[in-house]
Symmetry: C2
Subunit: 236 residues, 2 copies
Amino acid sequence: MPDTRLPAYQQVKAYVKAQINLGLWRAGDPVPSEAVLQQQFGVSRMTVNRAVKELAVEGLVTRVRGSGTVVAQLHRISSTLAVRDIHEEVLERGHSHATKVLTVEKVRADTALAQILKLRTGSTVFHSVMVHFEDGVPIQFEDRHVNPQAAPHYLSVDFSRTTPTRYLLEQAPLTEASYSIKAALPSALEAKQLAIKRREPCLVMTRRTISGIHVASLARLVYPGLRYSFSGKFEL
Amino acid sequence: MPDTRLPAYQQVKAYVKAQINLGLWRAGDPVPSEAVLQQQFGVSRMTVNRAVKELAVEGLVTRVRGSGTVVAQLHRISSTLAVRDIHEEVLERGHSHATKVLTVEKVRADTALAQILKLRTGSTVFHSVMVHFEDGVPIQFEDRHVNPQAAPHYLSVDFSRTTPTRYLLEQAPLTEASYSIKAALPSALEAKQLAIKRREPCLVMTRRTISGIHVASLARLVYPGLRYSFSGKFEL
DNA sequence: CAGTGGTCTAGACCACCGA
DNA sequence: CGGTGGTCTAGACCACTGG
């Protein structure tokens, strides 16, 4: 038979996807068992297993050992929100990136900060403040506290040549991160540096990154709301 | 022997992860070939292949056929942002959810809307406006335009019993969606319904969903910025 | 209990890369 | 060319689910 040049497991995936997208199999409906698909496509079970397993990872179907496979209740279509280096992000859009460094210093951690970085109150931490420009327009205000144990030489980095995100990713391989995105009004300094009015709403991302046993860094990233948006797209 | 061990492929994954997290293998370093890992762990090649393939999917390593596997340059840790039903989301937090329906009507699409929904200017589209409450507190203002071809009976749905998101997911299986998140000030109506001041910044998500050949719906979701945040976490 | 998916093996052929 | 990963087979044992 003139089978497509697609690998067999992708053909099985495509078949199941199509049934779901066409509405023939609806949420909660059973997906044929591996044995059935194996017969239907004339392939080995490992191949069918791979196909359905990947669909499960993608969230299209739910598998329960001993019970079977069903079409997932909510198509958990999802996109990725990545910890990215703003330098690369801007270049990818075909624009130029520049950084204005406002502060790079040692400070003593107050109780709240120490708790977040899992250090003792009064410990020395590094603190940097800078503004990132895209084609000369300020798009991100970055206020960051760094755990010296994760990046001992942070203070001597030339941030006109690299960014904190990139440097930290290189220094301390990332193992975990948590973030939260809110809307807020900028502080006086933030408004001034971003060249916006104090009344102009901003997107504020707070991000804590963990590298191995250390909390590496806590960053507050402020974006002018009228000039910047997080956007994305997802497909089945 | 009681089988308390981790599956073999997970042991291989854990080993490679550990080398990377400990900094023993740095970005760009080669990962042992499948043949080597196969010897080292005394498992079959399929098992090793699965382990390394999954690490590639997770973004920790980069595989090149014919060349080999190396530790990925930037650990592009990422999380998923899902299209979810707010009803379920609120219940999951252990709170109660209620909806106040403001408008459900037929309207004629202006040029901009028609373009987005891929309809002709002046076509009939459905329009709904409602407010979602979490434990009695307004948390989302939802203004939505729906393509009648994707959900012909949208106008007669009882939105005190289900939500537009859930109904549309059931009616028209989702195949694609795009979103953008901005910060903005609420309109007079939005501020009133969310019980916030007009000066209070909001998170505004604009989401367009596609089901098969139809653009199913265009939604504008407004969240009070001081009361709501998108948050997430990612791990290696 | 029979059926399901989770894992694993010991082979195999192929396409591709770099020397 | 030899080594790499991509795919595939035809079996296998197991843990778990449901009736």
